[in-house]
Symmetry: C2
Subunit: 423 residues, 2 copies
C-alpha cells in the first residue's frame, strides 16, 4: 500500500515517527507493507529530513495512480475539501484528521466517497486518538443513541482546570495554556467554542444518523467565566467543564457547546487538564464513556494510523467501512429551544425588596428557582446566587434580559448551565 500525506506538520511528522516505531504491528494488522511515498508541503526547505518524500504540487499526489491512500493532515477547509474530493473521485481511499472540513462539507465529501466506493475515514477528527468514531459507527451500531456528552476541547478544559485548582483568572490560565503550547496565539476557535462545535457536529451526525453542521451548533465560550463562579460552584458540589451536548428529543436534534457545572457523580467530572472524554447514552447499551488525550501529534497520529490500517485492509481484501450514516433528516433545534437548569451570580444594591423583585421576574418569566444564596453585603453591594430548576432556554433568557434592565442589578455573571448525571 502506497500512502501519500497532504501536510507534514505536527500530526504528519508524528504519523511518520509512529509508523517507523510500530511498523511490525501496523503491517501485521494491515496484512502487508505500508509505504509512505509522498508528502505535500508548502515550504520544502523546512523538511530537509524527508527530502525524498516532498512535493509542492498537489497533482503529484492526486493524479498519481500509484498512490492508494491519501492522508489529509493539513487542516482548514480550503484547499483540503477540494483535495479530499479529488482523491476520492480518483479512486483513492482518504484518511483525515480535519473536523473543520467534515463539519462544513461532510455531505459533499460523503457524496464523493459513495461515488468512489473507497473508504473515507476520520477517527482523528474527534477526540484525537480516542477511538470514539469507530466505536459509535460500528461497535454501537445496534443501539439507538439518545445523548452524547463530551469534553471535546483540551485547551478550554486545561484553562478551566487551572482556574479551579489554582484560583487563576481566565486571562492568566489562558496565558499559561499558551506558554505550554496548548493554546494558539489566537485562541478564539478554542475559547469561543468553535473547535468543540465542529467536533460536536461530527459526533451528532453519526450518533443520530442525521447531518449536523458547524452552523447548526449553538455555542457559548468560556471567556466570561470568573474564578468566583468556579469557587461558588465548588460550594454546591459542582465542577465546571467545557462540554458539548447533543440530544435527540422527540425527533429534534439539540447540539450545544458551553461551559457547564457537573455534579461530582457525573462521569465527566473527573476529566481534567488536556484530556477529552465522550459519554454516550444508548439503548440497549446504557451509558459508556471513552477517555484519553484529545489533542497533540502522537495521539492524533494513533487514530490516523488505525484508519490507514483499516483502509489498507479493505483495499487488499475487498470490503469497505461504514461510510455516510446520515440516512435521516432530523430538524436541528435553534438557540432559543431546549431546557436547562441555570446558575447566575448577581451583584445587587443592598436594599430592601431586591430579592423579591428578582424572584418575581423569574417567576413571571416561567423560571422556577431551586436555590437562592445571599452573601454578606460588602458596602452597598450584595452578592446573590440564583440556581434554577430546569427551565426553557427562551424563558430564562427573557428573565435575564429583564434583570439586566433593573437599576438594582449592578453586575451579572455569565449564566452557566447545570448538567445532571443520568439516573
Amino acid at each position: 500500500m502506497r500512502i501519500a500525506l497532504l501536510g507534514l506538520g505536527t500530526v504528519g511528522n508524528a504519523f511518520l515517527e509512529s509508523l517507523r516505531q510500530n511498523r511490525e504491528h501496523v503491517e501485521m494488522r494491515a496484512e502487508g507493507p505500508i509505504e509512505i511515498v509522498k508528502a505535500l508541503v508548502l515550504h520544502p526547505e523546512r523538511h530537509r529530513g524527508e527530502a525524498g518524500l516532498i512535493t509542492t504540487r498537489p497533482a503529484d499526489i492526486l493524479n498519481d495512480p500509484e498512490v492508494d491512500i491519501v492522508v489529509e493532515v493539513m487542516g482548514g477547509c480550503d484547499p483540503a475539501r477540494a483535495y479530499i474530493e479529488a482523491a476520492l473521485r480518483g479512486g483513492k481511499s482518504v484518511v483525515t484528521a480535519n473536523k473543520e472540513v467534515l463539519a462544513n462539507h461532510g455531505a459533499a465529501l460523503f457524496d464523493a466517497q459513495a461515488a468512489s466506493n473507497r473508504d473515507f475515514l476520520f477517527e482523528a477528527s474527534v477526540g484525537a486518538g480516542i477511538p470514539v468514531i469507530r466505536s459509535i459507527k460500528i461497535g454501537l451500531s445496534g443501539n439507538r443513541i439518545d445523548q452524547v456528552t463530551g469534553i471535546l476541547n483540551g485547551t478550554t478544559n486545561f484553562i478551566l482546570t487551572r482556574m479551579e485548582r489554582y484560583g487563576q483568572s481566565y486571562e492568566d490560565a489562558l496565558a499559561e495554556a499558551q506558554r505550554a503550547g496548548y493554546a494558539e496565539a489566537d485562541p478564539r476557535a478554542d475559547v469561543e467554542g468553535t473547535d468543540a462545535a465542529r467536533k460536536a457536529a461530527v459526533l451528532a451526525s453519526i450518533a443520530f444518523a442525521s447531518r449536523v453542521t458547524e452552523a447548526d451548533v449553538v455555542r457559548e465560550g468560556i471567556t466570561r467565566v470568573e474564578p468566583r463562579d468556579i469557587a461558588l460552584g465548588r460550594s454546591f458540589g459542582w465542577t465546571l467543564k467545557p462540554i458539548a451536548v447533543a440530544r435527540e428529543v422527540g425527533g429534534r436534534v439539540f447540539v450545544r457547546t458551553h461551559p457547564a457545572f457537573l455534579s461530582e457523580d457525573h462521569p465527566l467530572s473527573g476529566v481534567g487538564g488536556i484530556y477529552n472524554a465522550v459519554l454516550v447514552h444508548a439503548v440497549p447499551l446504557g451509558e459508556a464513556m471513552f477517555y484519553g488525550p484529545g489533542a497533540g501529534g502522537p495521539s492524533t497520529a494513533s487514530a490516523v494510523l488505525g484508519d490507514v490500517v483499516e483502509a489498507a485492509r479493505n483495499l487488499r481484501l475487498g470490503g469497505r467501512t461504514v461510510g455516510c450514516t446520515c440516512y435521516r433528516e432530523l430538524p436541528v433545534a435553534g438557540e432559543e429551544e431546549g431546557r436547562s437548569a441555570f446558575y447566575l451570580r448577581l451583584d445587587v444594591r443592598d436594599e430592601p425588596g431586591v430579592l423579591g423583585s428578582l424572584a418575581s421576574i423569574m417567576g413571571e418569566s416561567g423560571v422556577s428557582l431551586r436555590t437562592v444564596r445571599q452573601a454578606e453585603p460588602r458596602g452597598a453591594t450584595a452578592e446573590l446566587v440564583l440556581v434554577t430548576h430546569p427551565a426553557e432556554e427562551r424563558s430564562f433568557k427573557r428573565a435575564v434580559l429583564r434583570l439586566t434592565s433593573l437599576g438594582t442589578v449592578q453586575a451579572m455573571s455569565q449564566p452557566i448551565r447545570i448538567e445532571e448525571a443520568a439516573t
Copy 2:
C-alpha cells in the same frame, strides 16, 4: 443476511429484542436486511414465543447452507467450541460472547477462522457492550501497548463497592449481589477471579499480539477481603477494586487478576457498582480508558449486534475484519515473578520487640517498608499495618511465610497489591 443463534437465554433474548427495536439503524449500517432464521435451544417448551425459530438439533444450523452468520451465546467450552469450529469450517461467519472458549481454545478457533476466510468476532466477550476489543484491534493498531488495566468483573466490583460504601462484610455483600441477580448461586467463577482471568487472557492476547490462555493468568480472589482492610485503605487515600493487570516488560507478559488498592487519581478508582472499565497505556497514544456496563443482557446484546453488522457488511461487500493477531510468541511470567507494592495487616501480641522482628524479616527478605502504622492495642493484641515499597513478588511471599511462623503473629490479612496511577 440470515442469522442463527446458538443459545436463547438472557443474551440471546436481549439480542432479538434489540434487533427488533433498532432494526432500521442496524440494517442501514449492515447495508441490507438482517433476518433471524433459527435458534438452538435445549428446552423448546421454554421458548413458545419464538416457536418459529426453535430447533434442538445443532445440525439444523451448522449444516444449513442458508445460514450466513452464527451467533454463539450459549457459553461454556463444550459443545460451544465444536459448534464454532464447525460453523467456521462450513463457511459461516461467527459472532460469540464466550470468553471461556476464547481463553481456552483461541488458537484452534482462529485456525478454523483462517482456513475459512470468514469473520470470527467476539466484542461481547470482554466488557460486554464496551467496544474495547475492536478499539484495541483496529483503532489502536498503530500503537505499541505496554499495559492494560481493567475492572473486568462486575460482580466483584459490586461486592467491593458495597463493602466500601456501607461497611458490609464480604458475605453480606455477596448475598446482596445474589439477591440483585449480579452473582450466581455458585459465585466461585466471579469471586475467585476466574471470569476476570478469562477476559484478561483475551485482552492480553490482543494487546501484546501473543497468545495468553486462562491457565497463564495468575489469579487471586476477593473472598478474604475484610471491611477493616477497606477502611484502612481509605485512610491512606485508596479505594479497593477487583482489577486485572496485563503488562509487557522486557519481552515477557505478566497477567494477573486480584483486588488492588488504587490511589484516588487512578482513572479506574471511580468505577463503581457493576460497571467495568479498561485502561490502556500505549505509544504513541498515551493513556485511554473505556467505561460502561460490563455485564447484562442488553449491554452484551449491543456488542453482539455490532459484530453482526460488521460480519454482514463483510459478507455483502467482501472484506474481513482483523482475525488472529497473535503473531508473536512471548513467554508468560509465572506467579512468583513480577514486582508490586503491598499492604498487609497483622494482629500481633503487644510485647516489646515485635515490630523490630517483623521489620527484620521484611528487610532480610529484600522487602523495603514504606509505612508502618500501629493502632492502640486492644488487650494483649495490637494491630499493625505494613505498606511496602515495590518488591519482588517472590521476596514478599517469602517474607509473609516467615511472618506466619512467628509466634507473635496471631492473624494476618490477605496481602493486597497497590497500583499507582501512571505518571
